[in-house]
Symmetry: D3
Subunit: 231 residues, 6 copies
Amino acid sequence: MSGHVIVRTSVGPSPEVTSALAAAGVATAHEASGRHGLLGPALRPIYPGARIAGRAVTVLSHPGDNLMIHASIEQCRPGDVLVVATTSRCTDGMFGDLFATQLRHRGVLGLVTDAGVRDVADLTAMGFPVWSRAVHAQGTAKAVPGSVNVPVVVAGRLVHPGDIVVADDDGVLCVPLAEGERVVEAAAVRERNEEAKRRRFAAGELGLDVYDMRPLLERLGVRYVDAEPER
Amino acid sequence: MSGHVIVRTSVGPSPEVTSALAAAGVATAHEASGRHGLLGPALRPIYPGARIAGRAVTVLSHPGDNLMIHASIEQCRPGDVLVVATTSRCTDGMFGDLFATQLRHRGVLGLVTDAGVRDVADLTAMGFPVWSRAVHAQGTAKAVPGSVNVPVVVAGRLVHPGDIVVADDDGVLCVPLAEGERVVEAAAVRERNEEAKRRRFAAGELGLDVYDMRPLLERLGVRYVDAEPER
Amino acid sequence: MSGHVIVRTSVGPSPEVTSALAAAGVATAHEASGRHGLLGPALRPIYPGARIAGRAVTVLSHPGDNLMIHASIEQCRPGDVLVVATTSRCTDGMFGDLFATQLRHRGVLGLVTDAGVRDVADLTAMGFPVWSRAVHAQGTAKAVPGSVNVPVVVAGRLVHPGDIVVADDDGVLCVPLAEGERVVEAAAVRERNEEAKRRRFAAGELGLDVYDMRPLLERLGVRYVDAEPER
Amino acid sequence: MSGHVIVRTSVGPSPEVTSALAAAGVATAHEASGRHGLLGPALRPIYPGARIAGRAVTVLSHPGDNLMIHASIEQCRPGDVLVVATTSRCTDGMFGDLFATQLRHRGVLGLVTDAGVRDVADLTAMGFPVWSRAVHAQGTAKAVPGSVNVPVVVAGRLVHPGDIVVADDDGVLCVPLAEGERVVEAAAVRERNEEAKRRRFAAGELGLDVYDMRPLLERLGVRYVDAEPER
Amino acid sequence: MSGHVIVRTSVGPSPEVTSALAAAGVATAHEASGRHGLLGPALRPIYPGARIAGRAVTVLSHPGDNLMIHASIEQCRPGDVLVVATTSRCTDGMFGDLFATQLRHRGVLGLVTDAGVRDVADLTAMGFPVWSRAVHAQGTAKAVPGSVNVPVVVAGRLVHPGDIVVADDDGVLCVPLAEGERVVEAAAVRERNEEAKRRRFAAGELGLDVYDMRPLLERLGVRYVDAEPER
Amino acid sequence: MSGHVIVRTSVGPSPEVTSALAAAGVATAHEASGRHGLLGPALRPIYPGARIAGRAVTVLSHPGDNLMIHASIEQCRPGDVLVVATTSRCTDGMFGDLFATQLRHRGVLGLVTDAGVRDVADLTAMGFPVWSRAVHAQGTAKAVPGSVNVPVVVAGRLVHPGDIVVADDDGVLCVPLAEGERVVEAAAVRERNEEAKRRRFAAGELGLDVYDMRPLLERLGVRYVDAEPER
């Protein structure tokens, strides 16, 4: 894929899939996916409590340049999540409240960016959630080309345009589009399973017994000993 | 200490010591201890405002594996703080709300971990405080042995099982068990001392005078000069 | 500038300039300044929502030693912001609530430090804002000389005593004293400009059109393509 | 791609392509590729002077576990480069001289790993080059499943099995298999171009003139000024 | 252990143990020790090729202050390794060629430091090896007390005075004094074992077979599949 | 200093000063300067053994853009050192062998950059030394304006055009132009002093005695104790 492109695409998940994954949250959906696609812990929310899931519209920008974010907005539709990567590590404030105003008008749910964000007080007041690598006011140029809706790597994980991005206080997950329904089903199974365990644990049972781990500990040679009288 | 062990031990501080150290908080107790035992600044609380002190139950886990956390829970009793180290650097989400449910049932006060944590929205809602190196949903295996209640290094400081762990918004402190009462006394002295100073400072006095530092500045050759008219 | 000095100086911005820059905030003032002087993203506020602008009183300390912070307080007056640098990287808790009590009495607005801070729960309760590289309770010595009101580098940017420090949730900006009025004017222009754009964006216009970027994208060779049916 | 798999594949570049790319080196091939696919600067060679290009055989391992490296060796053939990723950040010494002995027998050219390596003195003596994130002797388990020859992200870039990995003192590049011949041709053009420029520069010409950048500087508003007599 | 002390001690390993561990090297001794005591990968040698093992003489210094290194030298004897920790993270050049001259006279083998080192060209010319967290010329004070020959944490691992420090191109290992002879024996077994495997691997056998891992892969559900014709 | 400028200046140190500082080296000149101006330890030489001192020609570039390096070369003369800063953190390979060819022709001694460098094998073969934050082949744009010969901050220290940059295996030092002769003299004194000490230390004397530190240790309350029989 040589050359810089803006890809128009309508491919994406159904609202049923995204609402189910938003309800499941990152940790459960990550487990349900077979533990694929979790973005690295460097991405943090600018405020606590947001939980979203939506179609990824991806941007690949030059560091210190947000031209392609401008170019991407037209490609967004309601229920999307904008996902910004840079061609090399960057913490500049490539995104702020004027972008959020444009995206909010289009029904975009939030931003995931491998770079920095600014105007975080305004974004918090708007209730426009952002997961970013940094908060930094550093201004950017609009001079270098890039691409929209190409596969990108964000915080160490591949995101294709059209994939499902789930984000909450635990971080950000990318579920491949084709996996969406399978993950929704697996998440529902997992949630029922976890709820049953939660009740048992709240009643005093131990994971050691519930998961039958004592034989494993013994097989691995872990020994129980009593502490010496003093150390 | 070859081999993997789970050490059963009832050694630990008295409730008087832990409640006094919780009241003192990390900064005061750190000073009172002679400035020993403060864990590094990489450990941060998942929500502000918690302040705890309790007996350390320690876990040494393989990176990416939480089997030994399961094994540790049975060793916990009311007033304990679970302390998790890994044999090499790890930010995986080795701990989540199902563990917290088990620990809460046993009266455990919170978690200090050199690795990652997940389900932070649930943990915050439960009021179960965690100090961790990262928030990350990354799932872990349960396949590799480790130890419980052995000495561990967490964020650069040694923690023995039975030591007193104090944690608040300033971070995490480990007070050796044998030092507990001495530190409580020294903290009380320090608090009275600080309160007296706080009143003097609030009234306009300077530390420079209260601590009699002007002669020291002079002896060190620090000179007072007036700014040049312009620069 | 050999030797250690404490420089007495009354040079600084007018209240009109500082209040205008506090109102503008970091991101707008940074743009208005021509994108100079923004401190790096490693400095973060200890609590959200504070926004200040004031005259910089600078401190250059040895790592792990807060003697010169003591020496600096006498040089502060109402509307100042204390700015602490260290001669090498340090995250120790060089500043706590007893310092804040002294500074509050003098009308100082807050602290910006390239090192660590402690007593953050107390500082938050006091409403004394701090932007720091770390939160750490590590105690410090008072034994090594340094200087007050000399030029310092903090988080990668030069701060002269008397410069205007602006800080909010987006980070910290240093506006050179001589640039203050020019930046205030440019910020006002920018704010009006942004407000006009915000209304257009809220009404559905795109930055791509408002800033007339389509010809630039074309000139840079960015092509629009339709997604292949599947991938 | 749910589940753990070892993919057998014979797809890969021709020897002509890999030898041409090894001759071009990372910087030239990166430019020739349109500036795609360069792995991040965290990967460094264990000794200077190696330069290789070969077919990627990829491994996705659990952190702290090298079982899948064992499983991968059988899939290697002469001219391959082993590429190891982990499901979360890891610096353990997952690879050492016993692995290199097995790979050397199979004609494998070297290792690129997002984790750590050990036995570096032996590997250097063998002339088996490694590009890694860390040198660390930390031992690993062989207990957790993973995959071989699936797409992986290494130091922020996607590598498919069969892609062409180029590595030298400047770092590591991944050229997609389908792009190989195009990149070889573009690299040859670039090398001739660079050689011509190198001669002109060595004779005293400036890039400013050779690339005709003076009009651009003027258009961007960059002004030439003479320094004030003193500062 | 309140207060600052310089502990005089003659406890340490025998020359047989240290020479055997130096011959084994870090990776082998680490495995032989049961995978305990390896210092973190942040410590790197200032030049390649050194390999030492000796008795640890430990120093706990204030950051930016090398007074206690001066105090430690008198406690060193032939065959020792000086091990320097700081009470908080520090990269200053606390050690240089004048210290090495003193230590060389006393027969000290090298330095392991959690802080910085300077004069590395001179140290290299002298053949005095150093493993450090940084190379930095930053000068230090001599004003703040600390301790000599107390337990310290260096790069995340506990080192007691008298323990055996092994260091080579793979990093630094601490073997507890009481474990020395056991580790020497285990290392010898491991070396013979590795040598046998090395011959088998060099002849083309696979670790997969030598370690009988195929059944494990099957039990873990790892499947062999053939690549699709194209991707 | 609003707007982008290329400052023409002939101000700089004499050859006597630079050759004396090159001979002294970074650590000695840093001490002689009163411990000012040492750049941070993140800057490392691409090969060991180089030692230079020369006049700083400074460049302030946008991240990921080397246009201003092109613009700077014309401002260089024999004996200069090019010093590159970026407006935000960047590790891209903004500099390579074609630049070095141009600079070598003009008699420039080397490069100090807060960003990345590429073609390091070629630069090493040319004997053109570089101190950089990273080695990375990432290509850069030539589209965004910046400045030449303005004050810049590099690795946390201020460099004015015309200042004296000293660089060797210990890192990089900036000596303000006006301080050059004073530092040369102080360095000569220090070298004689150090040479005398080196002889005494080589003969077995201790710094503890040579610097008369025993009374200080006693005054600071450091006590000598004998180790307990065992631990």
